[in-house]
């Protein structure tokens, strides 16, 4: 992790208001290059909103933030070229084939024909989807779909990849494989920003921030958190913090 300590995401008192409701309340943190940074919190704690602001899907109400050294207010278009994104919902086209999906997403990121050809063949080989390449995505098992989604999000070799609860509804075995893929990406230098509400997944991250009611209540490595809260595991840490929550889950 972070030998160079190059800051890829920097947030300073970043807030988002929806009318009177404060979804994200002055959060500040740094994410370093090659790190797997976890965003942990109950439903409605503001994880997704925070992530959307960093991706350029949502304009912050106040505060400062840079992604890949680019200001989120002034250079959202350049940020988009440097990031990959995988949303909560499965986000490939079910009525297109595996290959068509790969080509489409590679295409809209502006990859050249040669790159697209190479990468799609490579990707299909790596996922072991050779036989399914010409089949509709609709017919794939959910686990494979998720893995395909992640691979597609990484296709244009982004500096940072944002994963919004990527493992929802996936069985434990596939989840493990999925995390193997995340590690691979991190090793090859991609910074991973992942939100989750699975506490065991938090252990996989290099550092975690725990969000409660729109605020970051704790930020450290899993080990550090366990020490601070003198807890046996992440569950205990989380429950100690989450007990303070007043906000209802959405």
């Amino acid at each position: 992790m972070s030998e160079t300590k190059e800051v890829l995401i920097h947030a300073d008192k970043l807030s988002k208001h929806f009318g009177d409701f404060v979804a994200v309340d002055e959060i500040s943190f740094d994410v370093y290059k090659g790190e797997i940074f976890g965003f942990l919190g109950a439903n409605g704690a503001g994880k997704t909103t925070a992530m959307r602001m960093l991706c350029g899907l949502s304009t912050p109400s106040s505060g400062q933030a840079t992604v890949a050294g680019l200001d989120v207010y002034r250079k959202p278009e350049q940020i988009k070229k440097n990031i990959g994104y995988m949303s909560q919902k499965f986000s490939l086209y079910e009525d297109l084939t595996v290959m068509e999906n790969i080509r489409f997403f590679a295409g809209i990121y502006g990859l050249s024909d040669k790159q697209i050809k190479e990468k799609s063949a490579n990707l299909v080989g790596r996922l072991g989807l050779e036989k399914e390449a010409k089949k509709l995505v609709a017919g794939l098992p959910l686990g494979w779909k998720q893995k395909l989604s992640l691979s597609v999000a990484l296709l244009h070799e982004p500096k940072i990849v944002f994963l919004d609860e990527p493992t929802g509804g996936v069985d434990p075995v596939t989840r493990k494989q999925f995390w193997d893929m995340i590690y691979e990406a991190a090793e090859s230098g991609t910074t991973v920003f992942v939100t989750t509400h699975y506490l065991d997944e938090a252990e996989y991250c290099n550092r975690i921030s725990i969000m409660v009611d729109g605020k970051i209540e704790a930020l450290d490595s899993p080990e550090g958190l366990r020490k601070t809260y003198s807890a046996k595991n992440m569950d205990e840490v989380f429950y100690q913090l989450a007990r303070k929550a007043t906000r209802q889950a959405d």
Binding site: S58, Q88, S91, L96, I108, Y109
Partner: protein, 368 residues
């Protein structure tokens, strides 16, 4: 540009993979044209009429011959008492009874005045009026052919000409209507559904996070439906020219240009609907209610706008199909050029800009 083409290709893949919708898109206009053209017409062909010829003289026989010679009627000669006419109508098939009195030709020659009794089944008033008009025309025609030009030396016979549509065919009216309906239906419904579907599936977010410009997403989505609508338009025009014998009197290019304008109107309406709805169902419902009904009811092609209550007449002005319908009729039936329809073009163009402006503004807000 290459990214744009990639996107358009993907949209075409969606369209062609959805066979049912595709079938509906192309089946619908064909079925409508065939139905309206051959089955649901309000023109009269081979109407059953009964003729009671009590005269059996030269004049009555010639008039009957003329009736039989016309494709409007299917003439049955009958013998019956005057009181029995109602009986004939009750059987249902006969639409009209013509009765020649005895001494018909004699009266005509000697008194310069002869009577024909025409009894029509007016439970269907439109048909009855039309049939009576046809019969009257035949009788007048015969009168004019008499030596000396008829009994009255100064007879004034009003000569009615049905301009642009002399046979009072139904087709010229509904073909422009069907065109408007199909173009609107395809473009409004399909565009709104295809955009809302991306929202529903969550793929829209992924697209918005990508460097691909949102405005291009919309343009790329519009392209396949623009192409499909053009094909549809060509099919409708070919059908109406070759199957319904309906000529296009004006410029085909102008017709296609005005249609493109309507298609763009429809696409921007579809876009507008997609910005205010979150699910495919509600997008479909809104397109149906918002487009189909006003188009059918208020564009003037089913019901004449002049006969509507004032309030509906005012409302009809905001229905894009109304203006398109006027223009298509002008081009197809009257053969008029652009100088006659620039006002309608301007109105439709203004509406399009309006819809486009509102929906693009809404679309931007959606991104926040």
């Amino acid at each position: 540009m290459k990214q744009f083409i990639t996107f358009v290709k993907k949209e075409f893949a969606h369209v062609f993979r959805d066979r049912k919708t595709l079938l509906m898109l192309f089946g619908l206009p064909v079925v409508q044209i065939v139905l309206f053209g051959f089955a649901l017409t309000n023109e009269i062909k081979h109407a059953d009429i009964a003729v009671v010829d009590n005269a059996r003289d030269m004049a009555s026989e010639q008039i009957i011959l003329k009736m039989e010679g016309s494709s409007f009627f299917h003439v049955r000669k009958m013998v019956m008492d005057p009181g029995q006419t109602e009986e004939v109508f009750r059987q249902g098939k006969t639409k009209l009874v013509v009765i020649f009195p005895s001494n018909f030709y004699n009266d005509l020659l000697h008194y310069n005045k002869a009577r024909i009794q025409i009894v029509a089944d007016a439970s269907d008033p439109n048909t009855a009026t039309t049939l009576v008009a046809y019969i009257t025309a035949i009788v007048n025609d015969y009168q004019a052919s008499l030596p000396g030009g008829g009994p009255l030396p100064y007879a004034i016979v009003p000569e009615v000409r049905m301009l642009y549509n002399p046979d009072l065919k139904g087709a010229p009216n509904f073909v422009p209507g069907v065109m408007a309906l199909v173009l609107l239906l395809v473009c409004v419904m399909m565009t709104s559904i295809s955009i809302v579907r991306e929202k529903e599936l969550g793929t829209m977010e992924v697209l918005l996070v990508s460097p691909f410009k949102p405005i291009l997403v919309i343009l790329a989505k519009a392209v396949p439906y623009l192409v499909l609508s053009m094909v549809n338009l060509a099919v409708i025009l070919l059908l109406s020219v070759y199957a319904l014998d309906l000529p296009i009197r004006g410029s085909v290019i102008l017709l296609f240009m005005e249609s493109t304008l309507l298609i763009i109107t429809a696409l921007s309406l579809g876009l507008l609907i997609s910005t205010v709805t979150e699910s495919q169902q509600s997008a479909m419902f809104l397109s149906m209610m918002g487009m189909m009904l006003p188009t059918i009811m208020l564009s003037g092609y089913m019901f004449p706008i002049e006969n509507m209550p004032k309030i509906l007449q005012v409302i009809s002005n905001v229905v894009p199909a109304k203006w398109y319908y006027i223009m298509v009729k002008a081009i197809m039936l009257k053969g008029l050029g652009f100088s006659y329809i620039w006002k309608e073009t301007l109105i439709l163009g203004g509406m399009t800009l309006f819809f486009l402006f509102i929906s693009l503004r809404n679309f931007k807000i959606r991104l926040q």
